[in-house]
């Protein structure tokens, strides 16, 4: 028995090491963002917000932030607007070719972004359209749609159909049933889908490098072009801001969703 315990201790230790490995670089970015030194490197020499101040005065980054926010929000809205009905169709109905279509809609996850980037750009070129914000938005919707489908489908499976049938048998019209029963039950799933779409769009680099013009650069693309020269403390500061933002949004949203769900259960 004693040997068993030591084996388990090793497993624990290993897991802790993997965690440390996974998070050390991320923690380093946040720590170095506060290093007042000229080069964003170790050792730490004090504590200062100067790079954050400098960041907030950098108008091109602020512009990129704005672009990213607008693009991410619009992508989230469009991707869920077309993704949620599709998820409903797959979970709530039986029809021919269902499995094939489901795989076809989700398979784009496996297609490399570079290929998607080339493909859409080639298509636009053939149509003789210039690169534009619309292209970027369309591309991001296609990019995020499979994830929205996966998330919403997984949540939908958990919603019992009996609730809807009960409402219908009690005399509610199909529309009333959707408004009063299905939609409130579905809301957390829709919300999760939107959040995921937003994050993926906000985060995307590779495909965006193909589609973006000089006017609608996003934050990651901006970071990428800044990196060409060297890693500056400003990049660490920007990284720290992005980490805090992208981590706190889903955590807060999860908290709100849980509160919301608890309020809904009788």
């Amino acid at each position: 028995m004693k040997k068993l315990i030591s084996g388990w201790t090793l497993i624990k230790l290993y897991t802790i090491l993997v965690y440390a490995w996974m998070f050390a670089p991320i923690v380093a970015v946040v720590i170095l963002a506060f290093n007042p030194q000229q080069f964003g490197t170790f050792p730490l020499e004090g504590f200062s917000f100067k790079w954050f101040v400098k960041l907030s005065q950098n108008s091109t980054i602020m512009e990129a932030f704005q672009n990213s926010l607008v693009l991410g929000s619009l992508t989230a809205i469009f991707a869920t607007a077309i993704g949620v009905p599709a998820a409903l169709a797959f979970i709530r109905y039986e029809f021919r070719g269902k499995d094939f279509l489901n795989t076809m809609l989700i398979a784009p996850i496996m297609i490399p972004e570079v290929v998607l980037g080339v493909a859409l750009l080639l298509f636009i070129r053939w149509l003789q359209q210039p690169k534009s914000f619309a292209l970027l938005l369309i591309g991001h919707v296609v990019l995020t749609l499979p994830y929205v489908l996966l998330i919403v489908q997984a949540r939908l499976v958990g919603i019992k159909r009996e609730y809807e049938e009960a409402a219908l048998s009690l005399g509610a019209s199909p529309f009333q049933t959707f408004r009063e029963i299905t939609f409130p039950l579905l809301a957390p799933a829709i919300f999760a889908g939107m959040l995921f779409a937003f994050t993926i769009s906000f985060d995307d680099v590779t495909a965006t490098l193909f589609w973006a013009t000089a006017q609608n650069q996003t934050v990651p693309v901006k970071i990428f072009s800044m990196l060409r020269t060297s890693i500056s403390p400003e990049i660490n500061a920007l990284g720290a801001v992005m980490i805090v933002l992208t981590v706190s949004i889903p955590l807060a949203a999860g908290y709100v969703a849980r509160r919301f769900a608890r309020g809904n259960t009788p």
Binding site: G7, P25, A89, M242
Partner: protein, 288 residues
């Protein structure tokens, strides 16, 4: 509920239209373009010829990049598996109250910007990064060891990105295994290790193979880590495509390389699907 046969199609039509118009047709365009000719003036001439493919395989330059890509992908799969299985097994067996928290931590990197996670390795591996700083300070070395801009650094970045996928895939598979099976094996005289090797490990193979496939496919299409952490010799196939299309505007040749990459992935995914079924991957992705 009265079933109206057209209703699911109505619900599906926006997604299907979008994917068909913006993905299926454009990818077909790439295939068609890969047979076109590029005039010396830079114009693309419609044609049906295999010159672009012949150019790819004409000398060692391009195939070596393809082989490098496959090698890096295999190495990444292997290290992810070694690093990922034990934490996944830990989640399966632990009864700690911290388990939900630890699971969220595994998924946390999904929410953190990919480019930030990639470049964060510069702070660790760079000449004035954490490791060199500590080694210099302790007096073990007198000048920094170059650790960046090589294949090792690229793989570090790739694992950082892909390890959560591997852990989750294995965990989902492990989680479906009845713990009493291993208990039964032990009560019949197996040791803990034997019970794991003979019962739990084989039953977790669907998750292991799904994780491996996902990591392999995602590595093959990767663009950013070789760009940021790699040197000139660590180019992967995606970097080549980008350079040909955006850099030299050679659309037909860029298309041909894209088709080669797609074909490689299709063959692998198809083979996998024949034997394992692709749905396992989607199952664990939706948990993420």
């Amino acid at each position: 509920m009265k079933e109206k046969p057209w209703k699911p199609w109505l619900l599906l039509s926006p997604s299907l239209t979008a994917v068909f118009l913006l993905l299926v047709i454009p990818v077909c365009f790439v295939v068609v373009y890969s047979f076109w000719l590029r005039a010396p003036s830079g114009q693309d001439i419609p044609a049906f010829q295999f010159g672009n493919y012949a150019k790819f395989f004409a000398d060692f330059f391009y195939p070596v990049i393809l082989l490098n890509t496959i090698r890096v992908a295999l190495e990444t799969v292997f290290i992810c598996l070694i690093m990922g299985y034990i934490p996944a097994y830990f989640f399966y067996r632990t009864e700690s109250r911290l388990k939900p928290f630890l699971m969220i931590l595994v998924m946390l990197p999904f929410w953190i910007s990919f480019i930030i996670r990639t470049l964060s390795w510069i702070n660790i591996l760079g000449d004035s990064g954490l490791i060199n700083h500590l080694l210099l300070k302790s007096g073990l070395i007198s000048s920094p060891i170059p650790m960046l801009y090589n294949e090792g650094a690229v793989i570090m970045g790739l694992i950082q990105y892909l390890l959560p996928f591997m852990i989750l895939n294995i965990y989902v598979s492990l989680d479906g295994i009845d713990k009493s099976l291993a208990e039964a094996a032990k009560s019949l005289g197996c040791t803990e290790w034997q019970a794991f090797r003979e019962v739990t490990l084989p039953l977790s193979m669907p998750g292991v193979s799904a994780g491996c496939l996902l990591v392999f496919v995602l590595t093959c299409g990767t663009y950013l880590p070789p760009m940021i952490l790699g040197g000139p010799g660590n180019e992967m196939i995606a970097n080549l495509i980008f350079k040909r299309v955006i850099g030299t505007l050679d659309w037909p040749f860029g298309s041909a390389i894209s088709v080669i990459l797609l074909l490689l992935l299709v063959i692998i995914v198809y083979t996998y699907n024949r034997y394992m079924g692709i749905n396992q991957i989607f199952k664990s992705l939706s948990k993420g």
